[in-house]
């Protein structure tokens, strides 16, 4: 099974949705996936924050348009994409411990249910090194 490692550095919905599309596409191809949630991305993974839509990095003036259009296109939320990927293949999601602390999360229980644990940066670098495909978003 090929392995995809994603370094997720953004918690904005455009980047999260993009990551979710890649993950579900990779899941259809039976990739094993590891996602490492780094610094600013961790905010979206704090329990209760998964429905926030306040941040769009690219074209922020078009935030409302983008959200409406994604809904019109019947596109799953970023969180639903991540859940779907987990249904289809082996997906592990780790939160960088520093990133977690930045947003008030120190234990696995502080994060949304799809999170598998916390990690150090060394684990991410090893996973990136071992992957067949490494993407940083």
């Amino acid at each position: 099974m090929a392995k995809l490692t994603i370094g997720l550095s953004s918690g904005s919905i455009d980047k999260l949705t993009g990551a979710g599309v890649m993950m579900t596409g990779a899941a259809a191809d039976d990739y094993e996936i590891e996602v490492y949630v780094l610094l600013t991305a961790a905010r979206a993974f704090i329990k209760g924050n998964e429905t926030l839509t306040d941040s769009v990095v690219e074209y922020p003036a078009h935030r409302e348009y983008m959200i409406d259009k994604l809904n019109e296109l019947n596109t799953p939320s970023w969180y639903e994409f991540f859940e779907q990927a987990k249904e289809f293949t082996d997906v592990k999601i780790y939160i960088c411990s520093l990133a977690g602390k930045l947003w008030g999360g120190e234990k696995k229980e502080d994060f949304v249910d799809i999170v598998d644990g916390l990690c150090g940066i060394g684990q991410y670098l090893d996973a990136a090194n071992e992957a067949d495909l490494h993407i940083n978003i």
Partner: protein, 83 residues
């Protein structure tokens, strides 16, 4: 396969994924093909141009046989045979 052959295919399962955008139809296909037996034929309906391109590549990687695509008004009928 020629258009006439595709039109006359005996399909074992039709999956209507016209309500979802990429990569939704691919996931619907992956989900449904598990319920088919070897050699059985699935028809995937999709309004997504990206899916039309992705399914033949996906079939090649997964070992299934891509049979062809018919273009209808506003959507595609994509045919594949399970390995």
């Amino acid at each position: 396969m020629e258009t006439s052959e595709l039109n006359n295919l005996s399909v074992n399962k039709t999956v209507d994924a016209r309500g979802t955008a990429c990569p939704g139809p691919l996931l619907e296909a992956k989900k449904a093909i598990g319920g088919l037996g070897s050699g059985e034929i699935m028809e995937l309906l999709s309004a997504d141009e990206g899916t039309r391109v992705d399914v033949p590549k996906w079939c090649k990687k997964q070992g299934h046989e891509y049979l062809g695509t018919l273009e209808e008004s506003g959507y595609f009928r994509i045919f594949l045979k399970k390995s």
